[in-house]
């Protein structure tokens, strides 16, 4: 994991061949493609734009975060929820099919040099970019705790995969896992316990806002991965605006983000 990623060097529109696609939970799929160049270039927190459909509907590409990257084997995985027409099309791709994948894009998670105790907060699909991050951080001898939360048991994604890289704690709103509550309850517990150098979070806005608030209150630096509707993914169209905390203007989620320091942006509803 680089400090400032130098994505541009290998940014390309890759023709990625599907190696495997499996359902990991209801409506939730793990897609693995072969793309050695992309695998080499990708950093945790960055994303790609996947071309969906053969005609012009759907028209726009879909942004998905890198979930796992196996540089040696040239494999890149995406963890995604089937939501609308684009992800539905992706879900129908089978081994051997080719998907256009533009990436790597954006600014991923950054080093913090304060220390190596990391708290990863993944609400629902927010788990997607965190596995890649967990792997890279653990390689650099970070000690990690991963919080995974969802409304119900089947929404807790990839807990077993995370276990290789740190302590995993899960929570569900309906109590279908041992612990019942929201991920924010869990987060507050861990914050109370203390000893964290950096928080990395991904998930719905309400979770990210809570992380912003905790970071501001406790002084623990946090990095949050933000979502916004995108067109170009390259910083050219100004479509993916997120309000800047330091100026009166906007930042581009696809360029200055998707990972922002918690204090960098204002998340409106």
């Amino acid at each position: 994991m680089g400090t400032e990623c130098r994505a541009d060097a290998q940014l390309s529109d890759y023709a990625a061949r599907v190696l495997e696609q499996v359902a990991v939970a209801p409506g939730c799929r793990l897609l693995t493609v072969s793309s050695p160049g992309l695998a080499r270039a990708a950093s945790p927190g960055q994303f790609a734009l996947l071309g969906c459909g053969t005609g012009y509907d759907p028209f726009l590409r879909r942004p998905l975060s890198f979930h796992r990257v196996d540089v040696k084997r040239g494999k890149v995985s995406f963890l995604y929820r089937v939501k609308g027409s684009g992800t539905q099309w992706l879900a129908e791709r089978r081994r051997g099919d080719v998907i256009p994948v533009l990436g790597p894009l954006g600014r991923g998670f950054r080093h913090s040099d304060r220390g190596k105790r990391g708290l990863l907060v993944g609400a629902g699909l927010g788990a997607a970019p965190l596995l890649f991050l967990a792997e890279r951080l653990s390689r650099q001898a970070w000690s990690l705790t991963v919080l995974l939360g969802a409304p119900t048991r089947t929404g807790i994604l990839r807990a077993d995969a995370f276990e290789r890289f740190g302590t995993v704690r899960t929570v569900t709103e309906d109590g279908s896992t041992p612990k019942k509550g929201t991920i924010l309850d869990l987060l507050q517990e861990e914050i109370n316990r203390g000893g964290w150098d950096t928080i990395y979070a991904c998930g719905p806005r309400v979770v990210l806002k809570a992380v912003q608030e905790i970071s501001a209150r406790t002084g623990i630096p946090a990095q949050i991965s933000v979502e916004e509707r995108m067109a170009c993914g390259l910083g050219a169209c100004l479509g993916c605006a997120c309000r800047s905390a330091s100026s009166s203007g906007y930042l581009r989620v696809c360029r200055e983000g998707p990972v922002f320091d918690a204090g960098e942006v204002i998340l409106d509803d």
Binding site: S12, G51, A236, C237, L238, A241, Y250
Partner: protein, 304 residues
Amino acid sequence: MIDLSVEVAGIRMQNPVLVASGTFGCGEEYSPLFDVGRLGALVTKGITLKPWQGNKPPRICETPAGLLNAVGLQNPGVDAFIHEILPVMKGYGVPVIANIAGFTKEEFVEIAERLTGTGVDGLEINISCPNVKSGGMALGTVPELAAEVVEAVVESTSLPVIVKLTPNVTDIVALARAVTDAGADALSLINTLLGMAIDIKSRRPVLGNVLGGLSGPAIRPVAVRAVWQVSQAVDVPVIGMGGICRGEDALEFILAGATAVAVGSAHFRDPLAAMKIISYLEHYCEENGINDWQKLIGTAWKNK
């Protein structure tokens, strides 16, 4: 290789494939993907007199075969453009056309004056942006008002003046005639169609700005019609745009009467779209033994 070079409003271009304003940043964003210097010309995002922060998000909404955008002219203002962005854009060695947007005639003139002599190769007057509330639209829909702006800009600058028209009017030909009579050296058409979308979950408009501009293949038939009508009615060259995604689409616009074309939303689906279109046009001419490809311009109505 066939010579696709063309002159539009006195601006010499190596080929007739431009990028559409607001979809291509300053070139730098796409330069890791292809040689931006192979384009016919670069066109900037709309430039205002003062810095402009644009509309609140969401700014993008996908629609069938297209998208709505309500970016709303976010830009650092003309002075920052000249000092920070223009040098980057000039670095690609192709003409740079500045898309300018004023809220009054006077602002248009002032932006034009400041850009004159800076290295910008031409101006594209954007009197047609649907995403700005105050005035923007009205100026562009009333032939007399549009002509006044154009006349004032033409008088204030030595730069070639291209006027970009909105399709959201009853009579685009009347508008085209008015601005051409007022001195426009070329016309760009079309800008986006005024549209909107509602989120059935929240029961509210999707876009932060409520209204947005529709672009992409969905609007291509409207754009081709506008080019067809206008190119027969005026004597200045027309730059055609609206849903051009492939070489065949570009050719359709040329046959309809466009001298050059601009690629916009297509970049969002295929970032290499413009390059592929240039290759297509080269091959098309070779395969069809066309030496003077400009003879293709308007063939569809010349053959009528």
